[in-house]
C-alpha cells in the first residue's frame, strides 16, 4: 500500500484521460492542502498524489464508520476481499486442480459473494465503496500459493468475526455474524485439510483450552491491508 502513495515519476506516461483526471485531482488536493496547512502541508500533498492507472478514487481513505454500521462495513470489506480472491481463483484455476476441489472452491466463491452482497444490501446507503485489491503476491497458477492464501483469509475471517461479536450492539446482527462465522470456519477447515489432511483445527488456530482465535479489527486490517489497495480508516469502530 505504501507504494501507491509514493509520487510517481512518470505521470506523463499515463493515458491522456487518466493524466487529466490525475492532474485535476492533484491540483484540487494541492490547493486544499495548501489552504489548510500552508507549506507544512507539502508532505501530505505528496502522499495523496495518485499514480496513473490507479482506479479513480483508490487513494481516498475509506472510513468504515462507527457503531454497528462500522462493524458491518468492516465485515463487508473482508467479504469483498474474499469474494474477489475466489473469483480470481475460479476464473483461471491452478494447474492440476481436481474436479472436487474446483466444485468446492466454486461453492466457497458463491458463499463469499452471497456474504458480500448481503452486507452491501443491509448497509444500503451506509455501505463503503467497492474496494480495489492487490493480489500481486499470489501466484494463481500455483495450488500451494492459492490454497495458502485461502487458508490465511479463512482463518483471518474466523478470527475477525469472533473478535467482532462483542462489538455488535444489535442482537439481530450478532446472530448474522454467528451464522456467517461458522461457514467461514467450515471453509477454513476444508482448505486446511486440502493443504494438509487433518490440520482442520490444529494448534496454530486452536489453543489448549480448545478455543479458536479472535482478533481485534485493527489487527485483522493490519494483516488484510497487504491485499487492499484502499486505505481503510477503522478508528471510529467500537472497541
Amino acid at each position: 500500500m505504501s507504494n501507491k502513495n509514493t509520487p510517481g515519476t512518470s505521470m506523463l506516461a499515463g493515458e491522456p484521460g487518466t493524466l487529466n483526471a490525475s492532474r485535476r485531482k492533484f491540483l484540487a488536493i494541492a490547493t486544499a492542502g495548501i489552504a489548510v496547512a500552508g507549506l507544512s502541508g507539502c508532505q501530505k500533498i505528496w502522499e495523496h498524489i495518485p499514480k496513473p492507472g490507479d482506479d479513480d478514487d483508490d487513494w481516498k481513505p475509506v472510513d468504515l464508520g462507527s457503531g454497528d454500521v462500522g462493524i458491518l462495513n468492516y465485515a463487508y470489506a473482508l467479504e469483498q476481499l474474499e469474494a474477489a480472491f475466489y473469483i480470481r481463483v475460479i476464473d483461471k484455476a491452478y494447474s492440476g486442480i481436481k474436479d472436487s476441489e474446483k466444485m468446492m472452491l466454486t461453492d466457497i466463491r458463491q458463499h463469499e459473494i452471497a456474504h458480500r452482497e448481503f452486507f452491501k444490501k443491509a448497509l444500503g446507503k451506509d455501505a463503503i465503496k467497492e474496494l480495489s485489491f492487490d493480489f500481486s503476491s499470489v501466484d494463481f497458477s500455483s495450488r500451494a500459493s492459492v490454497l495458502g492464501t485461502a487458508k490465511a483469509f479463512e482463518d483471518l475471517g474466523v478470527s475477525a468475526y469472533n473478535g467482532a461479536g462483542s462489538l455488535i450492539s444489535d442482537t439481530g446482527y450478532l446472530l448474522i455474524a454467528g451464522k456467517i462465522v461458522s461457514v467461514e470456519a467450515r471453509h477454513a477447515a476444508y482448505i486446511r485439510d486440502l493443504i494438509s489432511y487433518g490440520s482442520f483445527a490444529d494448534s496454530t488456530v486452536v489453543d489448549n483450552n480448545g478455543l479458536d482465535t479472535s482478533r481485534k479489527p485493527a489487527d485483522v486490517l493490519a494483516i488484510a491491508g497487504k491485499y487492499i489497495k484502499n486505505k481503510i480508516t477503522a478508528s471510529n469502530l467500537p472497541s
Binding site: M104, D107, Q110, H111, I113, A114, H115, E117, F118, K120, K121, A122, V158, Y161, N162, G163, G165, S166, L167, I168, T171, G172, Y173, L174, L175, I176, A177, G178, K179, I180, V181, S182, V183, E184, A185, R186, H187, A188, A189, Y190, D193, Y197, G198, F200, A201, D202, V205, V206, D207, N208, N209, G210, L211, D212, T213, S214, K216, P238, S239
Partner: protein, 281 residues
C-alpha cells in the same frame, strides 16, 4: 485466548460492567500482565473468578445457565468420542483415529474450560449426566447403539452432534450479548465445533459413505435422514435479516449456495429436545 483482549471487551462493551470495573480497574490491570504468564490450564479459573469479582457477585443467572447448557453438550460430545476411541480398531486409518482424538480432546478442553469458568464465577457446574449413547433415553437400545464401534454410523452421529453443537452455540449468542469475555469465549468454541463438523463431513465423503460437502446444503442431513431430520430443519432458510439471498442484487446465487452461506441457530429448548434421547434420565 487473548486475555487482554477479553479484559478490554469487559471494560468497554457493557456499560454496567464498566461501572463495576471502575473500582476494580487496578485489579484487572494487574491481571492483564499476569495473564500472559499464567499456565493456560489455570486461565479459565482465574477468568471466572475475576468475572465474578467484576460483578461483585456471581454473574446473572442467565449467563451461568447458558454456560451450563453448553457444558451439557460438551459432556455429551466428549463422552461420545471417548467411548468410540475405546474401540481403536474401528478406525480404518491412523488419520481418522488422529482426527477423532483431536476432536475428542477439544471437547474435553471445552468441558474443563466451562466447568472452571462457571465455578470461578461463583456458579455450580452441572455434574456429568449418565448418558445413553444409543440415544435410547436409558434403554441402551436406541437407534445409535452401534455408533461407538460401527465406523459408518459413528461418523453420521458425530456429524449430527457437531452440526447441532454449532447451532446450539449460535442460538445462545444473543443471550450472551453484553458479556464481552463470555461471548467471545463462546464464539471461539462455536467456530471450533464448525471446524470439527467440516472435517467429519469430509471424512464421510472420503470414505464414500455419502456425497456430502463440508457445509450444510438445504436441510439435508445426508445419511441418518428421519432419525435426525429435526437437527437440520430450519437450515434451508434463504432469507437473512429480511434480505433474500437467492440471486441477491442480481448476482446468480442458487438456493443451495444461499442455504450453505449461512448456518442457522437452534433454541435451547429445541436442542434439549434433540439430545434428550442421549440422557439416561
Amino acid at each position: 485466548m487473548n486475555l487482554e483482549n477479553i479484559l478490554n471487551h469487559i471494560e468497554t462493551v457493557d456499560p454496567e460492567i464498566h461501572e463495576r470495573l471502575d473500582t476494580r480497574r487496578k485489579l484487572f490491570k494487574n491481571f492483564a500482565g499476569f495473564g500472559t504468564k499464567l499456565a493456560a490450564a489455570a486461565v479459565p479459573i482465574a477468568f471466572g473468578s475475576l468475572l465474578n469479582k467484576s460483578y461483585g457477585q456471581a454473574p446473572p443467572a442467565g449467563v451461568l445457565d447458558v454456560l451450563n447448557f453448553a457444558l451439557l453438550l460438551e459432556y455429551l460430545e466428549a463422552g461420545f468420542y471417548e467411548a468410540a476411541l475405546k474401540n481403536p480398531g474401528m478406525f480404518p486409518s491412523a488419520a481418522s483415529r488422529n482426527a477423532i482424538t483431536t476432536i475428542g480432546l477439544h471437547e474435553k478442553q471445552h468441558v474443563d474450560f466451562l466447568k472452571a469458568a462457571i465455578s470461578g464465577a461463583g456458579g455450580t457446574p452441572i455434574a456429568k449426566p449418565n448418558f445413553d449413547l444409543s440415544g435410547g433415553g436409558g434403554s441402551g437400545n436406541g437407534p445409535f447403539k452401534d455408533a461407538t464401534w460401527n465406523y459408518r454410523l459413528f461418523l453420521s452421529v458425530a456429524q449430527t452432534l457437531e452440526d447441532t453443537g454449532v447451532r446450539a452455540y449460535k442460538g445462545q449468542a444473543g443471550n450472551l450479548k453484553g458479556t464481552g469475555a463470555v461471548l467471545t469465549a463462546a464464539l471461539n468454541i462455536h467456530s471450533v465445533e464448525a471446524r470439527h463438523a467440516s472435517h467429519i463431513r469430509q471424512m464421510r465423503q472420503n470414505a464414500n459413505f455419502a456425497a456430502i460437502k463440508p457445509w450444510i446444503t438445504g436441510k439435508n442431513p445426508v445419511g441418518l435422514e428421519s432419525l435426525v431430520q429435526a437437527n437440520y430443519n430450519g437450515e434451508e432458510l434463504t432469507m437473512q435479516a429480511g434480505i433474500e439471498i437467492i440471486n441477491i442484487n442480481g448476482k446468480k446465487i442458487s438456493f443451495e449456495n444461499a442455504t450453505e452461506s449461512f448456518d442457522e441457530p437452534l433454541t435451547k429448548e429445541q436442542v434439549t429436545n434433540l439430545v434428550k434421547g442421549f440422557i439416561a434420565a
